[in-house]
């Protein structure tokens, strides 16, 4: 990726991350979209990492973007920061305040409902809990299928012609969704139930800003087996 120099934007950029994290993935896609050169630092043990503790003492979590010596935390904040700081690349958030509010609304929904349900399926202690979490997740997909139609306005992405805030927010969840599909046998993104999302997912995966950084599904599967010691992964 070529280095971009802007007014005060040529300060060194580092990203503290972890390869399986969909939140880290969001930030890498944003940086790639703007063609920003950055140093990626894999944090294997975030709770015991001095850097993570130093730059995010409140949550002790990655991703953390460090621009110069300034830390920016929380994946969606980082994406917005990248969008506002490097203006030469394609815009990630729309310019119209109402459209921006809609984009922000859906990313909050994705974090509070989709991601929570994905996690819910993974950590479910019994069949009943798992069924409930799966049902919730299927509801999320149906809603996002509708949202895609409204936001894309006939174009290829939630953001229109290019990937935007919602694409990044939701696209980062495709890996975890595929892992769950493998273990539960449930197809969350399906050519019949969610045809728009099905096609969108292929386009998202193929995007030049996404392809180089999307984690390999087999590796994610192995990671999930180790992390979640619950029955569906055995």
């Amino acid at each position: 990726m070529g280095l971009v120099n802007g007014s005060n934007n040529d300060e060194y950029v580092r990203l503290l991350g972890a390869w399986p994290s969909p939140f880290v993935l969001r930030t890498r896609i944003a940086l790639n979209l703007k063609r920003i050169a950055y140093e990626y630092l894999e944090e294997e043990d975030t709770l015991n990492s001095e850097s993570v503790l130093n730059y995010n003492p409140v949550h002790k979590q990655i991703p953390i973007l460090i621009h110069g010596n300034k830390p920016i935390r929380e994946s969606l904040n980082i994406v917005m920061y990248v969008d506002e700081t490097w203006l030469s690349g394609p815009p990630i958030l729309p310019s119209d305040p109402f459209d921006r509010a809609v984009a922000r609304f859906w990313d909050v929904y994705i974090d509070e409902h989709c991601f929570t349900s994905i996690n819910g399926v993974a950590v479910a202690k019994d069949e009943e809990e798992r069924k409930a979490a799966i049902a919730k997740l299927e509801q999320c997909m149906a809603l996002l299928e509708e949202t895609f139609q409204e936001c894309s306005k006939g174009r290829g992405f939630f953001g229109g012609d290019n990937i935007g805030f919602i694409d990044i927010g939701f696209g980062s969840m495709l890996g975890p969704l595929k892992v769950l599909e493998k273990f539960t046998g449930v197809k969350f993104i399906h050519p019949e139930n969610t045809p728009n999302l099905f096609d969108w997912a292929d386009r998202f995966y193929a995007h030049e800003a996404v392809k180089p950084v999307m984690p390999d599904i087999e590796k994610l599967v192995e990671f999930a087996k180790l992390k979640f010691n619950t029955s569906i992964f055995k």
Partner: protein, 219 residues
């Protein structure tokens, strides 16, 4: 063409208070509509927020904006000519959003436990609540407001809870002042602003509301 702005709200909501304060700060004329959230949500609310069916809902020229933090950002961007609420600098803005997110994730849930739980859970909640406030107090430091010299975004996100502090303290049987005196000074300072004084209910009213809730849920 004049703007039509409607706010669907429920008076004790510390989330709705944020939106009201933001509108007041910008001098926006709006129609306030009280929603009977417990028993009889209006068709307009259900139409404008079909996913969550919750207040506050901001309706600007017929288009709905949901979620209070998103509403405050929206108000700041649309009525940008007066009283800027978020910093212009992207880094400062990211910090403001970080603290807003911290408040959003922590204060309500923990605060609720101070009146809705008892025994061990309550004791745990009181400790956690003070720790959360101390973290915020530490971030405030010696600044008059979270953003510095000007009243702004983070102040707006947090201040609604100030009207609930007396209720938390009364029902949880604890005191915020001893360890969070600087934060209480900040609260009083914010209350001197007209936008805040207009938007926050009296603490006695909140206490009465919580009492009714406790009776209703048998807590």
């Amino acid at each position: 063409m004049e703007d039509e702005v409607i706010l669907l709200n429920f008076w004790p909501s510390m989330f709705g208070m944020r939106t009201m304060i933001a509108l007041e700060e910008k001098g926006v004329k709006y129609e306030y509509r009280e929603e009977d959230v417990a028993n009889n949500k209006s068709p307009l609310l259900l139409e404008m927020n079909p996913i969550y069916k919750k207040i506050p809902v901001l309706i600007h020229n017929g288009k709905p904006v949901c979620e209070s933090i998103i509403q405050v950002q929206y108000i700041d961007e649309v009525w940008s000519n007066k009283n800027q609420l978020l910093p212009s600098d992207p880094y400062q803005r990211a910090q403001a959003l970080f603290w807003a997110d911290f408040i959003e994730k922590k204060v309500f849930v923990c605060g609720r436990k101070t009146w809705a739980t008892k025994g061990e859970e309550l004791e745990e909640a009181k400790k956690d609540f003070i720790e959360i406030l101390k973290t915020l107090q530490s971030e405030l430091g010696d600044k008059p407001y979270f953003g510095g010299d000007q009243f702004g975004f983070v102040d707006i996100v947090l201040i609604g809870f100030y009207s609930w502090f007396p209720a938390y303290q009364k029902f949880g049987n604890f005191s915020i002042e001893p360890e969070c005196s600087k934060l209480m000074v900040w609260g009083k300072r914010c209350m001197e602003r007209e936008s805040v004084a207009k938007s926050l209910p009296e603490s006695e009213k909140v206490i009465g509301y919580v009492l009714r809730l406790k009776k209703l849920y048998g807590i």
